[in-house]
């Protein structure tokens, strides 16, 4: 995973020509830690500190009526104005695109970024909205019966990508 994240960090710097006006915004939960790690690699490479934020999109979801039994809301923390910045949304898995749609709605309530890009560790296909990732760590085609989970050591104790059968709703 380290090699993949390092490559994503390189791509972000090259695509946006540096780190000025850049902010990486991780989606709760695992996107937040992935954004922190990518920011670390960018700092190693460029010697510059990259701004970081966290976004919890629970309150922007379109499926409140069907949420599971523990709908605990996480923290949204955007330390600076988004106006005129390049915002890179960082998430673990890109699937239907609904989370990203919710994230863009929420970002719009915080300001008017110059542009919004999307970086994901895993793109598993199966989009239900016209959304694509700009920077992708790994592409896989997973059928809808399977759930693709990213494990990260900060939350799960180890790094990895696992596919598990979908039981009920994950």
């Amino acid at each position: 995973m380290a090699r993949t994240l390092r490559r994503m960090a390189d791509e972000i710097v090259e695509r946006f020509s540096g780190t000025e006006d850049l902010i990486l915004v991780g989606i709760q939960r695992r996107g937040v830690q992935l954004a922190e790690r990518i920011a670390g690699y960018i700092t190693e490479r460029e010697g510059a500190i990259v701004a970081l934020g966290a976004l919890d999109i629970t309150l922007y979801r379109d499926d409140l009526q069907t949420i599971g039994p523990r709908p605990v809301v996480g923290k949204t923390d955007l330390p600076l104005s988004l106006d005129h910045r390049t915002v890179v949304i960082v998430d673990d898995v890109l699937y239907t695109g609904r989370t990203v749609r919710a994230a863009m709605d929420e970002l719009a309530d915080f300001g008017r970024p110059a542009r919004i890009a999307l970086a994901v560790l895993v793109d598993r296909g199966g989009r239900e909205l016209p959304i694509h990732a700009d920077i992708v760590g790994k592409r896989i085609q997973a059928p809808s019966e399977l759930r693709v989970d990213v494990l990260i050591r900060e939350v799960d104790g180890e790094d990895g990508v696992v596919t598990v059968p979908r039981e009920g709703e994950g």
């Binding site: 922007y60 409140l64 009526q65 069907t66 709908p71 605990v72 949204t76 915080f110």
Partner: protein, 312 residues
């Protein structure tokens, strides 16, 4: 469609589990941040209609609920007793059923009769949130007090909280008692015996007859409003006398062995149950309670709204 975590209604803290209370507090924490944004609004309850049915005077609670509803993007309607058909003698259930016929999702009710919220909840389909019923319960006030205490003290298990004053008439006291006990806090009450319920000893709470003793024991005081409108019954000799014996004053707090968190649900009678230099002092969290009130009400509305389809 009932909430998988709270059921259909929020009527009181007596019927909630410790786990449900913790979930509400844990949800309210992150919701506080929404009120700090430039655009203080999230779309979570978009399209939902909530009626605030207030049969008793209220400023803080009504406005707090209305802010909570609006910040979650619900549509709100306020109905008061005066100026509505309630003043023409319409019954509570008829009023609510007529509102339901206009397709609403939730009713927030404040009523002078104990049990009014449950009475209504049993008879209408809409979800019901109790915003204070008689001397029974005021669950969102209890929850916001718990959140305020938890912000300061962390886990409340074993922490010592004293509820002071007119416990007898206070729905705030009852909701606090239930909530604090469920989270494992040690609870005491302090006030004239005429203003304490008869069976208070059986609730497993300590009773202090002297405010000095309460101050020596407690880590936090929740000072209730002396309900002046209910004082015709000869419960206390005079307001001055009450302040002299039970008033929380700077001099009394200065003799405490520790800093004591000062709470008051409002509206305050300054110079009666609480002195101004205490209410405005460094250990007062009275305005934090008000801030937390909006977040707690957002959490309750959000969790109640998040249902699952039948059989889902």
């Amino acid at each position: 469609m009932n909430s998988p975590v709270l059921g259909k209604d929020l009527l009181g803290l007596e019927t909630l589990s410790a786990e449900q209370i913790r979930l509400i507090l844990d949800t309210a924490g992150p919701l506080k941040e929404i009120s700090e944004r430039t655009i203080k609004k999230v779309p979570a309850l978009r399209g939902m209609t909530i009626v605030n049915l207030f049969f008793e005077a209220s400023t803080r609670t009504r406005i707090s609920f209305e802010f909570a509803e609006k910040r979650l993007s619900a549509d709100t309607v306020n109905v008061g007793a005066a100026g509505s058909s309630v003043s023409k003698g319409e019954t509570l259930v008829d009023t609510a059923r007529n509102l339901e016929a206009m397709r609403i999702d939730m009713v927030v009710i404040r009523h002078g009769a104990s049990g009014a919220a449950k009475f209504l909840a049993d008879r209408i389909e809409s979800k019901v949130v109790n915003a204070g019923d008689g001397t029974h319960e005021h669950p969102t006030q209890g929850l916001l007090d718990l959140l305020t205490l938890r912000d300061r003290l962390g886990d409340l298990a074993g922490r010592r909280v004293c509820i002071c004053g007119d416990v007898l008439h206070s729905r705030v006291a009852r909701s606090n008692l239930w909530g604090l006990k469920k989270l494992g806090a040690e609870v005491a009450v302090c006030g004239p015996r005429s203003l304490l319920p008869n069976a208070i000893d059986e609730m497993g709470v300590k009773v202090f007859d002297r405010i000095e003793a309460a101050i020596e024991w407690a880590e936090a005081l929740n000072i209730l409003r002396l309900q002046l409108e209910r004082m015709q019954g000869g419960y206390i000799p005079s307001l001055r006398e009450y302040n002299r014996v039970f008033g929380v004053t700077r001099e009394r707090l200065d003799r405490a062995p520790r800093d004591i968190i000062i709470m008051h649900p409002g509206p305050m009678n300054r110079g009666v149950e609480i002195d101004s230099d205490v209410a405005d002092g460094p250990h007062s969290v009275i305005l934090d309670q008000v801030t937390n009130g909006v977040a707690i009400r957002m959490a309750v509305l959000y969790l109640l709204a998040g249902g699952r389809p039948e059989g889902g």
